[in-house]
């Protein structure tokens, strides 16, 4: 009943955007366990569902990488216990080549989509958009709930593909045809691909439902006084992330559907003049283009990188400013650079295709546009650094991760300048240099943004604190491991060492890195163990963590800290507060912080 009134009034807010705030007094929900924790329409619960599902996926995806690192670090050794858990995929204690490639593929798919897209954007867009713009919930809580359940469905289908007879898909997370299109090209290209595509299609639906909701909510449901330019940078970041997703995921979807047709209905979108070695058969397909798929894939694939990175940037900005006790430097430049990155994200996809035989002139346009992205990225870095300059920095675990994010973003971003320049890319393409580049800038950096977000907003999510000592160990251990794992990979890449190789021992050119590969494996195992420590801290603190005593534990300016310590569905008891200023008045006129709800004083200085 009361939930219905909530929805009606939200519809009202949407339609007229006038103050209905006072109609929201007191929500007496008669919720059952199912409506509260499972089919919940409360954005906060949905955000936790995304986060916990994301954590489970991160453990699975991380474990995959540990397994294939074992093969890379110890190609000559056998591990009998592997056979105990993997059965025929690791006969004799050594991972089979097909399974190695399945692990690589699943690691990529899971981490890119299920963890760093759903787990990151799904968690924090859901949690923070209504809380930070002053809304009771999303524009459509129902679609929001469906967004999670489509993600859940996608997860179930993806998991199920691990257990089928012919094994999961093993053609790389990019799923290039013809390898992904031909049943006989590889065992993983049988049922595994169909399940992979179906799962990804569900995932796209989830993403679109979520994204449309985020956009509608941000545009229509901001509280009184919350103009667009008063929004915290987190919200700007989530906004551009959602726009990127809504415009690019459908293109990926079409690419996948055509692939499904080529696989099962005999069409020739991507296939031409193929002779399959294993069956000794010439296929009838002619006139298709395998490269067409790559265009469709990377039209999402590149924006996807920013879908992963922008939320981390937004959260890092917010956390850096709060804990430096200083306003974020150059707010408008930060918004402008987010906008520039979002626009450019759509115009650079072919830099993944410099060596496909792309028209060189077309390639040159993509070089120009790609390197252009370095400008807004540089602005962001310099602005973060200036935010820290002459601050009064509090090293909470969240702050450490936010600063770690900046460090990693610099390290990984700079190598992008090598790869975006097509002439250099010819040499570096598909080598370990690329692995190092994108793992640092997109993988680990975004993970750091996510960790920063979890530590920072944990009190809001669960009304308790995570243990900071474990947080500090987690941070220092992880950043050291991250650099030890990925820094030397640049050198392997400069030796031309290719990605996605199961074994290098028969190669004259690459076998000199045996010891290094072993070292990297050891540190990736340590790193994985450290993440388990985080997971333990996360779940333990939900029940046993130190209780949050103050409504605003970080002395922050944003609206989420004006809600009760354990907010109910609807977030604020009584009226939604009105906003009078931007989110970054830290240290203004000698006052430590001025929350957005504080009216501008008569004697306050202008900036």
């Amino acid at each position: 009943m009361s939930q219905e009134t909530l929805h009606q009034s939200q519809a009202g807010t949407l339609a007229a955007h006038v103050d209905h705030h006072d109609t929201h007094h007191g929500h007496h929900h008669h919720e059952t366990f199912v409506t509260k924790y499972i089919f919940s329409q409360d954005h906060k619960t949905i955000s936790k569902q995304f986060l916990i599902t994301g954590i489970i996926w991160a453990i699975i995806g991380g474990l995959f990488s540990v397994l294939f690192r074992l093969q890379l670090g110890y190609p000559e050794s056998t591990f009998p216990w592997l056979e105990n858990i993997l059965g025929r995929w690791a006969e004799g204690g050594r991972i089979k080549q097909e399974f190695y490639y399945a692990l690589v593929t699943m690691h990529g798919t899971v981490l890119v989509f299920f963890v760093l897209t759903a787990g990151l954007s799904g968690t924090f867009s859901n949690l923070l958009i209504p809380l930070q713009i002053g809304a009771r919930d999303m524009a459509s809580p129902m679609l929001n709930m469906l967004s999670y359940w489509f993600f859940f469905l996608a997860s179930i289908i993806m998991i199920s593909s691990l257990f089928i007879q012919t094994g999961p898909f093993s053609g790389g997370w990019t799923a290039y045809p013809p390898l992904s299109a031909l049943h006989d090209a590889s065992p993983g290209s049988k049922l595994g691909v169909d399940l992979w595509i179906t799962s990804m299609a569900m995932f796209v639906v989830s993403s679109l439902l979520g994204g449309l909701n985020y956009i509608a909510t941000i545009l229509n449901m901001r509280t009184k006084g919350m103009t667009m330019t008063r929004m915290p940078l987190t919200i700007w970041a989530f906004f551009f992330t959602a726009v990127l997703g809504v415009l690019s995921f459908p293109v990926l979807f079409s690419g996948f559907i055509l692939l499904l047709f080529d696989r099962n209905l005999g069409t020739s979108f991507y296939l031409s003049e193929i002779y399959v070695q294993s069956t000794q058969q010439a296929l009838p397909n002619e006139g298709g283009s395998a490269i067409l798929y790559q265009h469709l894939f990377w039209f999402l694939g590149h924006p996807e990188v920013y879908i992963i990175l922008l939320p981390a940037m937004g959260m890092a900005s917010e956390i850096l400013s709060t804990n430096a006790r200083k306003p974020i430097f150059g707010y408008m430049a930060m918004v402008g650079s987010l906008f520039a990155i979002a626009v450019l994200a759509f115009l650079v996809w072919a830099h993944h295709m410099f060596v496909t035989g792309l028209n060189p002139f077309l390639g040159s346009v993509f070089v120009l546009l790609t390197l252009l992205i370095a400008v807004p990225s540089a602005i962001k870095v310099f602005n973060w650094l200036t935010t820290l300059w002459r601050g009064n920095i509090r090293f909470t675990p969240a702050m450490l991760f936010a600063m770690g994010f900046v460090s990693l973003f610099i390290s990984g971003g700079l190598t992008g300048i090598f790869l975006g320049n097509s002439a250099l890319d010819i040499h570096l393409h598909d080598t370990y240099f690329v692995i190092a580049h994108f793992h640092i800038v997109m993988g680990v950096a975004s993970f750091f943004g996510m960790f920063a977000g979890v530590y920072h907003w944990y009190p809001k999510m669960f009304g308790r604190h995570m243990n900071s000592t474990i947080g500090y160990i987690h941070f220092w251990g992880t950043i050291i491991c991250a650099y030890i794992i990925f820094w030397p990979m640049h050198y392997e890449g400069l030796a031309g060492m290719p990605r996605r190789y199961y074994d290098f021992s028969q190669w004259q050119s690459f076998k000199q890195f045996g010891d290094l590969n072993q070292l990297i494996t050891v540190f990736s195992i340590i790193s994985f163990a450290l993440q388990l420590l985080f997971v333990f801290n996360f779940f333990y603190s939900i029940f046993k963590g130190r209780k949050v005593l103050s409504q605003n534990p970080w002395n922050s300016n944003t609206l989420e800290w004006t809600t009760p310590i354990n907010p109910g569905h609807g977030n604020w008891e009584g009226e939604i507060p009105e906003v009078h200023r931007w989110a970054y008045d830290y240290g203004k006129d000698g006052v430590d912080h001025l929350p957005q709800t504080v009216p501008v004083g008569a004697n306050e200085s202008h900036h």
Partner: protein, 361 residues
Amino acid sequence: MNIWMLLAVLGMIFLVIFQIAKASEYVSVLKGEGKARLQSNRINAFLMLAFLIVGLAGAWWCHKKLAGETLFAQGSASVEGEKIDSMFMLTLYITGIVFLITQVLLFWFAYKYQEKEGHKAFYLPHNNKLELIWTIIPAITLTVLVVIGLRHWFKITGDAPEKSMLVEITGQQFGWTYRYPGADGVLGKKNYRMIDPQKNNGLGQDWNDKANQDDLITTNMYIVKGKPVKLVIGSKDVIHDVGLPHFRLKMDAVPGIPTTLWFTPKWTTEEMRERLNNPDFEYEIVCDQLCGASHYAMRGVIKVVTQEEFDMEMAKTKPVYYAAFPDKDPGNKSVTPVADSVGQPASTAVVAPAGAVKTKM
């Protein structure tokens, strides 16, 4: 070590960390939040500085250890690749300077501006002049890099010199086939429907095309020092990639869409063996595009030789036409077994029936 023992040790470490963490939480509650925060602040700020110093030293040490293992240490084996090397070094210097400045500032600020009692942060919301400067400087630097990069790009991807020799390279799961046009200088027509390994026609050469009759197929790719070579690249099944790290080049092999690549080798294989003091050195062809379970074993070999050696090698090789039609071989009226590499890709991990791939296990 036994995996269970390892897990037990890990569990113990977890337990210890947990106990310490729990205890320190109680201590901080007792001490008061403000005091505890200041203490952990001091420790973390110091660690930030330590991380910077140790990290930079580590990066230097890593460079000392590994720079010699990369290909840049041996120099580019192709004339065109020299440009890529010089461009790499320029980009490395520029990004290296930026890296150093920004990382030092980040960690130094962290240390310098750690929270201190009585200290107040400086309210600085924006400064248009500063922001303009750090928009324009990166923009100019990048323009320079783009201009240099594109000049090389157009040169490398441009047309091959007219006097280049021609070699066709075709990928399949999991090996490479090299075809030479023979005396007429023309590669004969192919049709993938005519592929028939049983009849010594692994590439689907159309025997009705006279240009096919003198085409040669070799086990390794032979090219000539100092002579530009143009590769015509194709694939029979999935996408492969002709990766030539020593020459700094790479190009996908796409079924149905031929691609090309050209370069001028600088040193023969023998010369490289002497230069590097490594008698086992080979110019390896690396498959750089995931192509299936034995992707990692799809190795080819390029022998860079002198013109005389090349001519001898070609003279030794019989046109593949005679393998398909032994009775038409003028120099060999009695039917003898032909070179068994013919009609099948020449490289190491080659296996015609799919099941045989597993032999590597």
